[in-house]
């Protein structure tokens, strides 16, 4: 259920959906809305920076690679752009189990922007517009409804749905040492007008902080003393649609690894009082999983060195991203400590590190379609919801774009469950518990992670995406073919016995037996040349079957509550016996289902039982005679 009724037709509307901000969230949002048939506008400050990688030039990683594969299965662009522009591909966590394996790549920052721009321009129904959005067009007597946006030059763009993907640009402030400037990225302004509009909507805001390391000139570095890090010898693409024959598309390059030294630590300790953090000039909360180098050194004083990853920003540039030394210390201190790191002694700075503080909208004010519950027509995606990362942003963009279109078209929202996708876990986490630090995906957040693997993202999600209209029949056919091959091979494994009581499949269950090992030991003509992805899926099926089934059982046990929606008319203060904390939190968060209610902080199983009864009572009242409103449980 959408939070607001389907919008009336506006004869003055230029578009169905307007997306503000052309970052990773904005791109997926506009493409998804257009895939569903909406005329969609993508408005950006600067046409040169569509798909900008504001921080590290990489896509995927632990917990994030799974998101990219899911975005791809839902017809999104991120995986395909990464495949076209990746300059080093690696599968991480290969030795730790199928559920935590994740793809990652280094990207050519420049090519990534170009490919993103090309895809957006090529997409049917998408218009790319350059301009600064200074205000929302708000109409409506009682509650404000969004009808479009106003640009700095006075142009009005009207549409029933607006998606804000403004990243770190709300009341953005950059810090380096004692310097402060307004802006969300070097050389770009902060979006003050929009921030003011969001304030007039009465939304609850929070403040976060993030940081970025210095960029160095490759020609000034001594790579000889660093450890070389190569990509996989047989790289795998993110996208299930990428043609493996034409992959990797770009030449592959190495990264390098070096370490901080005691001298580095000494300089930082001597100067830490100059950091805006230490001086109390930053109020936003930074991510603990991506601390600044000064934070790492002060908090973990016993560690005598930290890794520094030296990553190229592209094939045709000398810019080097120094991953691991994010900092907001003054420029001269940055130079001094970087020069104590082996290989970086002569480093020339192209850009100094800095921290950026920005406002975000507390996401408990959103519903699972990423629409604001209290303002009709406004959707939010990406860092504006308190998340961090290109992958998290893109996934939300896809959800918001899809749902903006679904809402306009009067169709049910597209909501993924926690057992269906990492995307479902993320949206559920965001709307039920507002983040305390920039929210990043971790596999440990997904209680059903054995089901939510990167290898099966397309099998999990393509059927759902097809039903929602996000992918075409050819995608569904591709997955069907895969399933058929899988079933056929499984049949062969189960029919071939290696001993009276054990078949090939049973043998493959053993942890020490790999697919290759199995075929070497028990040659099987019918399985030679099997699609390696099918083989991988079979091996995982054999080794994880029991555990996967257990998780599926758990999902089924909870299905009843997950499927019971709570009517939005439910008045929690009218429920006798509900615990005080539960009542307060539920009224604030307004969960969509009984299952979600059980995940709200302070809500206990008996509270859920009580809610179940009230939900059923209200449902019967609502489906009965119109205008039954005398009960205490129904709001006037």
């Amino acid at each position: 259920m959408h939070s607001h009724p389907t919008p009336r037709r506006d004869s003055r509307a230029h578009f169905g959906v307007i997306v503000v901000g052309a970052g990773h969230a904005g791109i997926e949002a506009v493409l998804a809305a257009a895939r569903l048939g909406q005329r969609a506008a993508l408005v950006t400050f600067d046409l040169q920076r569509v798909g900008e990688m504001s921080c590290n030039p990489a896509i995927g990683g632990l917990g994030k690679g799974q998101l990219v594969r899911e975005i791809d299965a839902l017809g999104g662009a991120q995986g395909r752009i990464a495949d076209q522009t990746g300059i080093q591909f690696r599968m991480l966590n290969t030795g730790k189990g199928a559920a935590v394996r994740a793809p990652r790549c280094q990207s050519d920052r420049h090519l990534y922007r170009e490919e993103a721009t090309r895809l957006v321009r090529a997409a049917q129904g998408v218009e790319l517009i350059e301009g600064a959005v200074v205000a929302l067009i708000l109409e409506g007597e009682k509650q404000p409804e969004v009808r479009g946006v106003r640009l700095a030059d006075g142009t009005e763009l009207r549409a029933p749905a607006v998606i804000l993907t403004t990243g770190t640009f709300l009341r953005a402030r950059m810090h380096r040492g004692e310097e402060q400037s307004s802006g969300g990225r070097v050389g770009e302004a902060s979006a003050e007008g929009l921030a003011a509009d969001i304030a007039t909507l009465g939304l609850e805001l929070g403040r976060l902080k993030t940081g970025t390391p210095p960029r160095l000139d490759a020609r000034s570095l001594d790579f000889g003393v660093m450890e070389e890090q190569l990509g996989d010898s047989e790289p795998q693409p993110f996208s299930f649609r990428t043609d493996i024959a034409d992959f990797p598309h770009c030449p592959q390059v190495p990264c390098h690894l070096t370490w901080t030294t005691p001298a580095t630590h000494q300089i930082i300790r001597d100067n830490v009082h100059l950091s805006p953090m230490a001086a109390g000039r930053i109020e936003g909360i930074g991510p603990r999983y991506c601390p600044s180098v000064e934070d790492k050194i002060m908090r973990f004083a016993d560690k005598d060195r930290h890794q520094v990853f030296v990553e190229p920003e592209g094939l045709s540039t000398d810019v080097i991203y120094v991953n691991g030394v994010s900092t907001s210390l003054p420029a001269r201190v940055q130079e001094a400590f970087v020069h104590t790191i082996p290989g970086l002694e002569q480093a020339r700075f192209l850009q100094y590190g800095y921290a950026v503080e920005y406002d975000f909208v507390m996401p408990h004010q959103l519903d699972a379609s990423l629409a604001l519950r209290q303002t009709s027509g406004l959707f939010l995606a990406g860092q504006i919801n308190g998340t961090s990362g290109y992958e998290e942003a893109a996934a939300q963009g896809l959800v918001a774009g899809t749902n903006a279109a679904k809402w306009i078209q009067g169709e049910a929202p597209f909501v993924l469950g926690r057992h269906e996708a990492y995307i479902g876990v993320m949206v559920d986490d965001l709307i039920l518990t507002s983040p305390r630090e920039p929210y990043r995906m971790f596999s440990s957040r997904a209680e059903h992670r054995l089901l939510l693997r990167q290898d099966n993202a397309d099998r999990r999600l393509v059927p759902l995406a097809h039903k929602a209209g996000l992918v075409g029949a050819e995608e569904l056919a591709r997955v069907r073919v895969f399933e058929e091959r899988f079933e056929a091979a499984l049949g062969i494994l189960k029919k071939r016995f290696v001993s009276p009581s054990r078949n090939l499949f049973d043998t493959l269950r053993r942890p020490e037996i790999s697919w290759q090992g199995l075929l070497q030991e028990h040659p099987c003509q019918e399985l030679v040349g099997l699609d390696p992805r099918v083989a991988e899926a079979l091996e995982i099926e054999a080794k994880y079957e029991g555990y996967v089934r257990r998780q599926q059982d758990m999902v089924e046990r909870m299905a009843r509550e997950e499927d019971t929606t709570i009517p939005k008319e439910l008045n929690y203060s009218g429920i006798n016996g509900l615990g005080h904390e539960a009542r307060e939190k539920l009224s604030l968060v307004r969960p969509a289902t009984l299952g979600a209610a059980g995940r709200v902080e302070g809500v206990r199983p008996p509270d859920v039982a009580l809610l179940a009864v009230h939900v059923e009572r209200l449902r019967r009242q609502l489906s009965g005679a119109e205008g039954v409103s005398s009960s205490g449980a129904v709001q006037p």
Binding site: N93, R299, Y547, R560, P606, A609, S623
Partner: protein, 480 residues
């Protein structure tokens, strides 16, 4: 949900003690769900004839027989109500057993072992409602009642946790969280592909966790669940007259040893307790060392003195109380507020110059007040009445409402639930350990350990993935 719900076959069979707490001649265990018939057959045998066959659940009815809890047998009266003609519309069986706590405990354990699980509070009612056996208003009424009974249960649970299982659980959690954060940090943050976790550290943590889990299970199963009387605790500043009041209230009870009363403040060093009859009910009355409501809880414990320890125990009692009687000396200085709120007992009104009423502000923060003179025996009768009323012993004003069938004997019910969870936790931990030994992928080991955490959650309330991340971030230096 369907407008006319069909049988909500959630598949599981639930059981719980559903007789009233305290001393009853008979205890009742109720079972509901598809396994009910099978459980009946497997735990009972008829009295007539030598044939040791289980009672056959054929048609609805009442049978007599013997209940076998795996160790021995005892007489049982069985009420068999096949669905849909039962309270929940599922197959329901009730076992009426002699009201001996240990026996009930063993019977419950037996049913859990055979595949039933402990019912959540309100679950029978919820099933009844969902299966259409109960209308909305009634279901709502029962659930509201259960919710308040559940409040009581939470208090009982926290009392148990204060009592020793909690301490053991804390150590256990610590150990498990270390184990899990070590693994999860490797899975979520370490960019090395091998998944190398220091083998010795991992194995040592496993051993410690297994040991602690064993100890906790042993402690919980050896614990005397005790009679489930409500606990009324006397608290207040030293020398406010608690012991005098204790003696005065107990003077009609067969208490062999009155509390030592000394005008020198702090003469009651240890906690004393006795059973007290109050109208229709009985309570455990507990006299504590003087404890001011405003002191810092950590303070006394830190001092480590005999007094300090006595004060710490007193605070534990106050926390676990069903009702706190804050005894205040009308002639002395009084605190600004009472925490937790309780019944205010304004003592020593017989002394000259003592106001007959406590200050307005204090009354507002209390659940009621009484003026007494413990010394002279003034006001004791009205105190007894007020306490009876607050504990629900007074005869109910109107119809008692639907019978709460799920209150049960809290201590025993909780213990059965704890043991159930601890046993499952042990299984999961052993499984994780074995997976590790077989060099299974780390994500599977981590999954088995998540199962252990889930069982602990059933005892202590839930933990979240955020808690785990907190631990990881405090322990490991992460982030590229």
């Amino acid at each position: 949900m369907d407008p006319d719900p069909v049988l909500a076959s959630s598949g599981s069979t639930i059981c719980a003690l559903c007789s009233a707490g305290g001393r009853a001649s008979r205890g009742v265990i109720r079972v509901s769900g598809p396994l009910s018939g099978e459980l009946l057959e497997r735990t009972t045998c008829g009295t007539q004839g030598a044939a040791q066959e289980g009672l056959k659940p054929q048609s609805r009815g009442v049978f007599e027989g013997q209940f076998n809890d795996g160790l021995g047998t005892c007489p049982v009266l069985v009420i068999w109500m096949p669905g849909p003609g039962s309270y929940t519309r599922e197959d329901v069986v009730e076992f009426h057993l002699p009201g001996n706590p240990h026996l009930m405990q063993a019977a419950l354990q037996r049913l859990l072992k055979l595949g039933a699980r402990s019912a959540e509070p309100g679950e029978f009612t919820r099933r009844a409602f969902e299966n259409g056996a109960l209308d909305l208003t009634r279901a709502e009424g029962v659930l509201a009642l259960i919710e308040s009974a559940n409040e009581e249960q939470r208090r009982a649970a926290s009392a148990l946790l204060l009592g020793g299982l909690g301490r053991r659980m804390a150590g256990l959690r610590e150990c498990l969280d270390d184990l899990r954060s070590l693994l999860e940090a490797s899975l979520d943050f370490d960019q090395n592909d091998t998944g190398h976790v220091p083998e010795e550290e991992l194995e040592a943590l496993f051993q410690r966790a297994l040991e602690k889990l064993h100890a906790a299970t042993h402690w919980e199963s050896a614990r005397d669940a005790g009679p489930d009387l409500q606990r009324v605790v006397l608290a207040g500043a030293p020398n406010a007259g608690k012991s005098s009041l204790y003696n005065a209230l107990m003077s009609c009870a067969p208490d062999p040893m009155p509390a030592l009363v000394d005008p020198l403040a702090g003469s009651t060093r240890d906690v004393r307790r006795g059973e007290l009859s109050l109208g229709r009910g009985r309570v455990t009355l507990i006299d504590t060392a003087g404890v001011g409501p405003l002191q810092n809880p950590g303070e006394a414990a830190l001092s480590g003195t005999l007094d300090g320890r006595a004060q710490e125990r007193a605070r534990e009692e106050v926390q676990a109380a069903d009702l706190v009687l804050w005894v205040l000396d009308g002639g002395a200085e009084v605190p600004a507020h009472l925490d937790p709120p309780g019944l205010l007992v304004w003592n020593q009104i017989d002394r000259a110059g003592v106001s007959q009423e406590p200050p307005e502000g204090l009354i507002r923060g209390a659940r009621g007040w009484c003026a007494v003179s413990a010394q002279e025996g003034q006001g004791l009768e009205s105190l007894r009445k007020v306490v009876s009323g607050l504990l629900g012993f007074a005869p109910p004003a109107s119809g008692a409402g639907p019978q709460s069938s799920e209150g049960g004997s809290l201590g025993r019910q909780l213990r059965a639930r704890h043991l159930d969870a601890l046993r499952s936790a042990r299984q999961a931990l052993a499984e994780a350990h074995q997976l590790k030994a077989q060099a299974a992928p780390l994500d599977l080991v981590a999954e088995a350990l998540r199962g252990v955490s889930r069982e602990f959650d059933a005892i202590e309330g839930s933990s979240t993935s955020e808690d785990l991340l907190d631990r990881i971030f405090s322990r490991f230096c992460l982030g590229k």
